[in-house]
């Protein structure tokens, strides 16, 4: 699945990462707790989260993720968007809540990637 397809599946707004729209991703992880995200070292490309601070981007960067989706209509400030840009991470914002956003992406073909 391409990042632009994630955007479309969620009716999300792209806040950063125009150049990453055609990057292909296969797996995702949804959580508001960063240590939960960090618990699975295997390739996960997308982070779906309601947590909006610098550590969200830092965590995604630590995991070599390429896309962060903020749920519940959360829009990050410029400092967070700037950090994402520096780390080559696309940023999306969707009005859907966590459960629905994850469900839509799972349905569209994204996988949890590990068990």
């Amino acid at each position: 699945m391409l990042i632009k397809e994630i955007r479309d599946a969620l009716g999300a707004e792209l806040l950063s990462g125009e150049d990453l729209l055609d990057v292909e991703v296969h797996t995702a992880c949804g959580s508001d707790m960063m240590s939960d995200v960090l618990a699975f070292v295997k390739d996960q490309a997308v982070l779906i989260t309601g947590l909006l601070n610098q550590q969200t981007i830092r965590t995604a960067a630590m995991m070599d993720m390429v896309c962060v989706v903020f749920v519940r209509g959360k829009v990050p400030g410029t400092d967070i968007i700037e950090a994402a840009r520096e780390n080559g991470i696309a940023v999306l914002s969707t009005d859907h809540r966590m459960f629905t956003a994850c469900g839509l992406l799972y349905q569209a073909g994204l996988d949890g990637g590990c068990l």
Partner: protein, 157 residues
């Protein structure tokens, strides 16, 4: 011997010698937004050195968890990172409250983090277990009332 570079707010010092590289970071205890800066810088350096991505990720995640712990539980501290041909290691020293029962702290889900810290996305009680999982060696030396020293080692494949 070799060179010595100082830069940035973290007070980075880099020393090169025949034994490898040494970096030192000062981690402020009062700046949650910047927590993880040292780990981010180390990750970049390891990548540039051409170390295998999986190894870089394991070490960086362990270091990041340790750095966050330093900030949320211990009021900051210092990190020394050593890189040579065989391994990458980090020594994290803080002068916080210490850990009364390290065995308990190592259990998945055990946390003393405040509601406030949880609201920031941490406090799942997964940091130390993650560090254990990703490192080849994890040593925790903690004295209540004095502080904690955590040593993380990841061997290069």
């Amino acid at each position: 011997m070799g060179c010595c570079i100082r830069r940035g707010w973290t007070g980075v010092v880099c020393n090169m010698s025949e034994n490898g590289l040494h970096y030192r970071f000062i981690v402020p205890g009062d700046d949650f937004a910047r927590a993880g800066t040292a780990s981010g810088a180390v990750k970049k350096t390891l990548k540039q050195l051409g170390i295998a991505p999986e190894t870089v990720r394991k070490f960086s995640i362990s270091l990041y968890e340790g750095e966050i712990n330093m900030v949320i539980h211990a009021g900051g501290g210092e990190i020394d990172v050593y890189i040579d041909d065989e391994q990458v290691s980090a020594v994290l020293v803080d002068h916080g409250p210490g850990i009364p029962d390290v065995g308990l702290a190592m259990q998945e889900g055990w946390s003393t983090a405040s509601e406030q810290v949880r609201g920031l996305g941490f406090g799942a009680g997964m940091g130390l277990p993650n560090m254990k999982k990703y490192s080849d060696e994890l040593e925790i030396d903690s004295v209540v009332g004095t502080g904690t020293t955590v040593t993380i080692t990841v061997r290069l494949a």
